[in-house]
Symmetry: C2
Subunit: 240 residues, 2 copies
């Protein structure tokens, strides 16, 4: 029983078939998605644009509009891309369209994989187990960091760190072969065992805190709080 494990630090690096992709945008889209599915929001449509999400609501007025542009909700949206906010909202049994700057496009970019899962720290163990089970013997699991288009090179420290946590979880499940990029991600978690301390240093964490949403950073840094594993084609529908 073995698996190859790789980390793509931005979706632009994806360049071929993958057995399983785990998309991470820890602060905040993948944490928001995990929380929405955990709270019973279904179906969850992942919309590439604000315009497309508004079209979907025009066709289905009960649909919630959730998301951000520049980290804040676009006009007329019901909820922001805030895991703390969606955890408190009445979303059970309701459908929603989600729009975000980096995370949703990354999930679209990873759609070429045989199985596409959404991961964050809150479902770390569960998403690692689901990815392991979905990959064939000797197959490849790619952790796809959404990154942060606003950062130089698109590299996001929070996502790289989240990827490192998932690499560690996968190593706990059986024999793994790590690429150089996967080993580097793992080393981040060796250097800094406290996710919250690291997230507060990241550009995404500093930006969210500056906007008064520091509770989101704390929520995103909590590990293994749920066994929910959102899956494209099951819990999530891509709306392009």
């Amino acid at each position: 029983m073995s698996r190859r494990v790789h980390v793509a630090y931005t979706p632009r690096e994806l360049d071929g078939p993958m057995d399983v992709a785990i998309v991470v945008d820890v602060i905040r889209a993948s944490t928001t998605i995990v929380t929405l599915v955990e709270r019973g929001c279904r179906p969850l449509l992942l919309s590439a644009t604000v315009h497309r999400a508004r079209q979907a609501r025009a066709a289905a007025p009960d649909l919630l509009l959730i998301g951000e542009q520049g980290a804040l909700p676009p006009e007329g949206f019901d909820l922001g891309n805030s895991p703390v906010e969606v955890a408190r909202a009445a979303v059970a049994g309701r459908g929603a369209a989600l729009v975000t700057t980096n995370g949703v496009p990354a999930i679209h970019a990873a759609a070429q994989a045989g199985t596409v899962l959404v991961g964050c720290l809150r479902n770390a163990r569960a998403v690692a187990e689901a990815a392991w089970a979905a990959a064939p013997e000797g197959g490849e699991i790619v952790i796809v960091c959404a990154g942060r288009a606003e950062n130089p090179g698109g590299f996001g420290l929070d996502d790289a760190y989240g990827a490192g946590v998932l690499v560690g979880r996968l190593q706990g499940l059986g024999a793994t072969t790590l690429t150089d990029a996967a080993e580097a991600a793992r080393l981040l978690t060796v250097a800094e065992p406290d996710p919250l301390a690291l997230f507060r240093r990241s550009a995404a964490g500093r930006n969210v805190t500056r906007l008064g949403l520091g509770d989101d950073v704390v929520f995103c840094a909590e590990v293994d709080r749920t066994t929910v594993v959102p899956r494209v084609g099951v819990d999530l529908v891509l709306l392009s």
Copy 2:
């Protein structure tokens, strides 16, 4: 006195002007280049292709041909891309053309910077000091990892680690603002203080060792052994 510091994990990420670029291909091109310049090899022509290097020798028969394709010297070359081999060879006062798979193309890709330096562990402190001095107050120093085209995503663990060592040296010189990518590189050196242990885990280190050139990995892992800082336009000539 402050500087912004960024790490590009592959040359593909470069997307704009830079005040100063430090190109690193620790195992082995940037270590070879530093060693050649240290031993008095001048001029050192960095050739994008084997064909172009052979043309240069046809025009100047005294020119040494140095380099690799698939980690080994192409036919008719005098020396490999091996810092241990070039350190022992009679290169003082001789010109050479160097061809490598990742390092030389990365230096060509970084040529847009105002100042282009070549760094490795052996000149870590010296190249950091030269970069600091060459950047204006508030200016940007970009450490450009050659990476490894043969690796998934092109990410090279040895180069990322070397970049982290240089980030640490730059922090010792004055106030710095680190991008997310620069902070991640720095954390690699916190997680693993021993360069040689890390290099032996990297794909580049394993490949060089497999070819019987493990002495090169040891040589590349030695820190602060020289104050030589090769500079494009001074010690190095780009041959495209």
